[in-house]
Amino acid sequence: MKKILFGLYAAVSIALLVWAFELAVHAPAEMMQGDAYRIIFYHVPSASVAFLFFAISMAGSIGFLVLREKNPVKALAWDGWAVSGAEVGIIFCTVVLVTGPLWGYRAWGIWWAWDARLTTTLLLWLIYVSYLLTRRFAAGPQMRTSSAVLGIFGGIAVPIVYIANRIPGQHPGPVFGGDRASGMAPEILRPFLWNMVAWLFWGVLVLILRHQYELKQQAAAALEAEQSLNA
């Protein structure tokens, strides 16, 4: 039953992606930027998904630290969310960091500007890469604890990045909830929202797959440890 539901979810995600792509391609060109603006259909959804998954990673880290003594089995599942959130989040953050300069070169004439938003997003990316490195380097049972603590340190950086997003700089201001000039024309807003939904569905699909993989790996490691004890 679970498998059928999951397969159904996967099919819906892929269908949504196709539909959103169709809409993104056929949306009218923007008044000032022409076709270059279309990158917003990938740039902004990826950024939102990345931030959401970094938050999930932090929640997983906190959950692991809280549960690790009372309920080690459940704690391991939380740790799985921590590592999956960080890994998949990094992928989406990479998409943001790649699509940003592509647009920037057209709009600003330069690939990269060292303003607060770009710098802080890059910083987040670096922090979560260092989180994954810690998981690789740290040995033994305390690896999960150390990386969970580092995950919390990284999570604290997220709101700092969010606040920096509202400091005026070269990067375009927030499209929604900004000043009066913000907002989108309805014929662009509709494809944009569909892309948001599609990429969120897709992101969650990848996240769940990664989490299942992590659980299987944990089970395999536990089995191996047990066998070497019995041998």
């Binding site: 150390s146 603590v149 580092l150």
Partner: protein, 222 residues
């Protein structure tokens, strides 16, 4: 309560006083960085004022890693760290004592380095020079508070000396950004460093609090 902290602090200061390992290695390393940067960029006049803030902060950052790596490695010999883990005192006090001691070491290095720096970079400070007495300690605190924490976090890993800068530098970067911008503002006198100083204060408060709260988890991680 405060006794434990003072005992730890006195011990760390005494070890350093007898060996002078941390201060000597930091001093020589930061001197090297300052010399290398002045060869690479040929600092003169206005250009020197623009880059020297960054060079000073980055030199401090790189140099402090050598001291931070030793901070806990010293405790591994003769299983001292294991004994500390079993001690019934809160780990936060040990952490705070180490931060205070290393904060002192890095500050000593900065004070000794300052005249060399002023000479090599031909600096004439155009802004409020006394603000440096606020910016540098705040930035150093951010560096040391995080550094001591992550040094403890990486103590049990393979390649711990390599891991420390890899996890410390990304987390420290917001503070570095604030520190560099504030010192550049002071050296050039072109803009007001107040907002960057406020950012540094906020950063110090947030990360020191989190470190104090989570230190026991790291120390007794099994």
């Amino acid at each position: 309560m405060i006794d434990t902290l003072l005992t730890h602090l006195a011990k760390d200061l005494r070890i350093e006083w007898r060996s002078k390992e941390a201060i000597n290695s930091m001093l020589f390393f930061s001197l090297l960085v300052v010399v290398l940067f002045s060869i690479a960029f040929d600092p003169r006049g206005a250009f020197s004022r623009e880059i020297s803030g960054g060079v000073l902060c980055v030199a401090t950052m790189f140099a402090s890693v050598s001291a931070l790596n030793q901070a806990w490695a010293r405790e591994i010999r003769h299983q001292v760290l294991d004994a500390q883990r079993m001690a019934p005192t809160a780990g936060a006090q040990m952490y705070l004592a180490k931060v205070l001691a290393n904060f002192f070491f890095v500050s000593v290095v900065q004070i000794l380095l300052a005249p060399v720096f002023l000479v090599f970079y031909n600096l004439h400070i155009l802004g409020d020079g006394w603000l440096l007495l606020l910016v540098l300690p705040l930035g150093t605190w951010a560096l040391v508070a995080n550094g001591i924490f992550f040094a403890a976090l990486s103590i049990n890993s393979r390649n711990r000396e390599l891991l420390l800068p890899l996890i410390l530098f990304p987390i420290f970067t917001p503070a570095l950004m604030a520190m560099v911008n504030a010192t550049t503002g002071i050296f050039t006198g072109e803009f007001d460093p107040a907002i960057w100083i406020k950012l540094l204060v906020a950063y110090d408060i947030i990360y020191t609090t989190v470190s104090l709260l989570l230190f026991d988890t790291i120390l007794r991680a099994e």
